[in-house]
């Protein structure tokens, strides 16, 4: 409950600011630019999300369902763009390619940085689904393409949709990339309003509008997977589907496509950073600051992830097991916080923090709470999905055998949620490492993360000096990315190892509980 209230803090703050504004609200909302702004932002979100869904599902299919050469290595590499902060990628593109600006540039960069949100859960889902349905479809005369589109995609849709939601909210709330790429999205205008006029009212009104859009998008996602989420108790045979044999031409084309994605999303930004790094070497690297920034980033990310998950686990279980209007509202409220620009959440915590939590204001605990507010939904989503996949029957059985409710929670529900907790933790770790605006305003005085050091260097155009921080950030973020992949992939791998005790994993994937036993 405390977690849910926490997540609603920014909303409370925005409502307060908006109410203060009184009749100016109407004027701000009906400004000629506002509607255009909504349209532009939605166009970006729609395009990026669609591209990510296509890329994510397509690439996942290539590495899990075909004989693509080198697919094991490629499967891992394709997850790594998640470790590249979008503002770093945007910077690399802006510096090197003048036309990569505006809508095209923003679409390119955001798609390249966020498609793994779809790709990762879909890979896990594709490895996990029972091939029987596909085989039935094939045996009834459907061709491979139609089978893929009508059966396989349908089976992995819940996984893809939840990833798509993360992508959509990322695209909606991102500021760093759209600002560098000069695309006038919602967040850029919210920032300009702070920056230009020091007037917090238009920013608050626009942020609330952003929240409304977010809730609509989240509702849309929920509707899109209604009826597709499955839990099964006892099911068919545990086996992998027969991979599609790619002919020589098809394999070459598929390899080229995968390499192209990797080149754009991974190789290019890394090469740019490496170039800057080398050109700046002569000036020397501030090793001490690099080391302390890395240590601070790591410490804050780990603590932040722990705090976030401490709130996310109970909420995730509650939302999955007790569906009601109240829990739905809690979940949607949490998503709303996720779509707000970091600066808005930071100012909300400044407002409340200095009034009710002065002793921890601008100290680590409040910063960790800010991370929890910002990234709670990612954790809740992962936990909810993995709890939802396990059938409540398992818990009922445990209860009927005499376990008390708390014991059931401890011995059945939470262990089943384990992989979801792991995936959520990895995701939260990853996003905290890259966070900038809230960290800047709420960090303990003098503490620097890799992101803040990067910001400091680029602020004086010291790109070469900034490169080591960016590289360190990417290197650090690779760890939770791999962990995320591992957590989400555990189900798929367990199919190979044949471990019958392995619990199910992954976001929103149709369950495969035949490998699960009541403890």
């Amino acid at each position: 409950m405390a977690g849910a209230l926490l997540a609603l803090l920014p909303l409370g703050y925005l409502v307060l600011r908006t109410v203060e504004a009184g009749d100016r609200v109407g004027a701000i909302l009906t400004r000629p630019g506002t509607l255009e702004l909504v349209g532009r932002s939605l166009a970006l979100v729609g395009t990026v999300t669609t591209l990510c869904l296509v890329l994510g599902v397509g690439l996942a299919a290539l590495v899990t369902r075909t004989t693509l050469p080198g697919r094991r290595v490629l499967a891992v590499l394709l997850a790594l763009p998640l470790a590249v902060p979008s503002y770093v990628a945007a910077f690399a593109w802006v510096a090197a390619v003048p036309w990569a600006r505006g809508f095209v540039g923003a679409t390119l960069v955001l798609t390249a940085c966020t498609y793994p949100y779809v790709y990762l859960p879909v890979v896990a889902a594709m490895r996990g689904v029972d091939p029987a349905q596909e085989e039935v479809a094939r045996s009834l005369g459907r061709g491979p393409w139609r089978t893929f589109l009508t059966v396989t995609v349908r089976q992995v849709w819940p996984a893809a949709a939840s990833g798509g939601l993360l992508v959509a909210l990322y695209a909606l709330s991102d500021f760093g990339a759209v600002s560098l790429l000069q695309f006038d999205a919602f967040t850029r205008v919210i920032h300009t309003s702070y920056r230009a006029s020091f007037d917090r009212t238009p920013a608050a009104v626009l942020s609330l509008l952003l929240v409304v859009l977010t809730v609509l998008i989240a509702l849309g996602e929920r509707r899109s997977r209604r009826g597709l989420e499955q839990t099964r108790v006892g099911s068919g045979v545990s086996r992998r589907s027969e991979p599609l044999r790619l002919g020589r031409m098809a394999a070459a084309a598929a390899t080229a496509a995968v390499l192209a994605v990797l080149a754009v999303a991974l190789a290019f930004p890394l090469a740019s950073l490496a170039y800057w790094f080398v050109t700046g070497l002569s000036a020397g690297v501030d090793v001490e600051r690099l080391v302390t920034s890395t240590a601070t980033t790591l410490l804050l990310a780990v603590l932040g992830a722990l705090v976030t998950m401490a709130f996310a686990v109970p909420i995730g279980v509650l939302v999955a097991r007790h569906r009601s209007r109240a829990t739905s509202a809690i979940e949607l409220g949490a998503w709303a916080g996720h779509a707000l620009p970091g600066i808005v959440v930071a100012l909300a915590l400044v407002f409340f923090g200095i009034r009710v939590a002065q002793p921890i204001y601008q100290r680590t605990p409040l910063l960790l709470i800010a991370y929890a507010v910002l990234f709670l939904p990612a954790g809740v989503g992962a936990v909810r999905a993995s709890v939802a996949m396990s059938s409540p029957r398992v818990e009922e059985v445990a209860r009927s055998l005499g376990s008390r409710p708390l014991d059931v929670l401890r011995r059945v529900t939470l262990p089943l949620a384990g992989p979801g907790v792991a995936a959520g933790t990895a995701l939260v770790l990853l996003t905290i490492m890259k966070e900038l605006p809230a960290t800047l305003l709420l960090r303990p005085t003098g503490a620097n993360t890799l992101a803040t050091s990067l910001w400091t260097e680029t602020g004086v155009a010291a790109y070469a000096a900034a490169a080591p921080y960016a590289l360190a950030l990417v290197a650090l973020a690779v760890v939770p990315t791999l962990w995320l992949m591992h957590a989400q992939g555990r189900l798929g791998e367990s199919g190979e190892s044949g471990d019958p005790c392995e619990p199910p994993t992954s976001l929103d994937q149709p369950s495969d509980p035949h490998r699960r036993r009541v403890p």
Binding site: R200, L299, M309, P365, P503, V518, P519
Partner: protein
């Protein structure tokens, strides 16, 4: 389900609770590595110890941390500095209200100081102190004082627009030959100040006409002055409207020979040669008034003024400090300078930019 698998799920919340408790219990546990501010007198880690002068600095750490270390050494005032963007800090200070820990706000531009002053968040400074700066570089009500000055300039690509080396009026950028070839940073505070200067010199109608013609020439919007200069340097645009010191920063970073772009200081009486200031204000309700006054006094003193000219390539605001090498004397530009006190009508400027469609 084996035990090994089960443990992490339970450990996570338990550990988190422990960590939170531990952190809440002892605030000093949260000193995760101090930044490079840790020179004499700068305290890092936990929120400022009692007795530290807490400075919110919108000026970049790279540019002023050395100066603030000097401040500590020279005045004996222990400082604790928080760095972020000027406007973000102004918003933060406004949200914090009178509960703020901050004693001093060191801003990149006068606009943020003006906003805090207008909201009643700044304490009046000693008039004797503000009187030391060149006329017009302090708030008339003494709520803030400028500490260094910067000139608006036209950056140009010598290959694409060699004639810009002789440019004397900002009106020249309206020439159709620069269609789509002028870079500017519409969200930047110093651009807004320039537009206000246009209004002061040309009148409201004249400024509107100028901006409409400027827009019709399809200027290219960039995110920051830094990005504008990069654009000129790479010949994406031929001209860029920036502040003079960005060019010097870039030269310092890359070596002067590696920077293609050049800058042109426009003639007197031209709004395109506007002088802006960075400055400081003391927060209302500070419990460090004496230390804050010492700090302001240091920033206006010869050591700090010399630092600005030599390290950040800015103009001093106190008469008698030599101008940095390679810059035209401030007094030559100053004759042109618009009364900075008229620059506080930011609302009107922003409204005008909105009307014209240059935001």
């Amino acid at each position: 389900m084996n035990l090994r698998r089960r443990r992490p799920a339970l450990l996570v919340p338990a550990l988190a609770a422990t960590a939170l408790l531990a952190l809440a219990a002892c605030g000093s546990a949260d000193a995760p590595a101090s930044g490079s501010t840790g020179a004499a007198g700068s305290s890092s880690g936990a929120a400022a110890a009692d007795g530290d002068l807490v400075i919110y600095s919108g000026r970049n750490e790279k540019l002023v941390s050395g100066l603030l270390d000097q401040l500590s050494a020279a005045t004996g005032v222990k400082v604790s500095v928080r760095y972020a963007g000027s406007s973000e800090l102004a918003a933060q200070l406004l949200e914090e209200g009178d509960a703020t820990n901050a004693d001093l706000f060191f801003s990149q531009d006068a606009g943020a100081l003006g906003a805090l002053g207008a909201a009643g968040r700044l304490e009046a400074l000693d008039p004797a102190l503000t009187a030391t700066v060149i006329d017009g570089y302090a708030d008339p009500a003494n709520l803030w004082v400028g500490t260094s000055a910067r000139a608006r300039v036209v950056a140009y690509h010598p290959g694409q627009a060699p004639e810009a080396a002789q440019m004397t009026s900002i009106d020249a950028v309206l020439d159709p030959r620069y269609k789509g070839k002028v870079g500017f940073a519409p969200s930047n505070a110093s651009f807004h100040a320039f537009v206000t200067a246009l209004r002061v010199t040309k009148g409201e109608d004249g400024a509107k006409t100028w901006l409409e013609r400027f827009r019709a020439n399809e200027p290219k919007a960039y995110d920051s002055n830094v990005a504008v200069l990069d654009g000129v340097d790479k010949a994406e645009v031929s001209l860029g409207l920036i502040n003079h010191y960005y060019w010097f920063e870039k030269s310092a970073e890359k070596g002067e020979s590696a920077v293609t772009a050049k800058i042109r200081f426009l003639g007197s009486d031209d709004p395109g040669a506007l002088i802006n200031v960075a400055g400081v204000g003391v927060l209302k309700g500070t419990d460090q008034k004496e230390a804050a006054t010492k700090a302001v006094s240091f920033l206006l003193g010869p050591q700090a003024q010399k630092y600005f000219t030599e390290t950040t390539f800015e103009y001093p605001v106190v008469d008698g400090t030599p101008t940095p090498a390679g810059l035209p004397a401030l007094k030559d530009l100053r004759s042109s300078s618009v009364d900075l006190n008229k620059l506080d009508s930011l609302d009107r400027t922003l409204a005008l930019l909105g009307e014209v469609g240059l935001t």
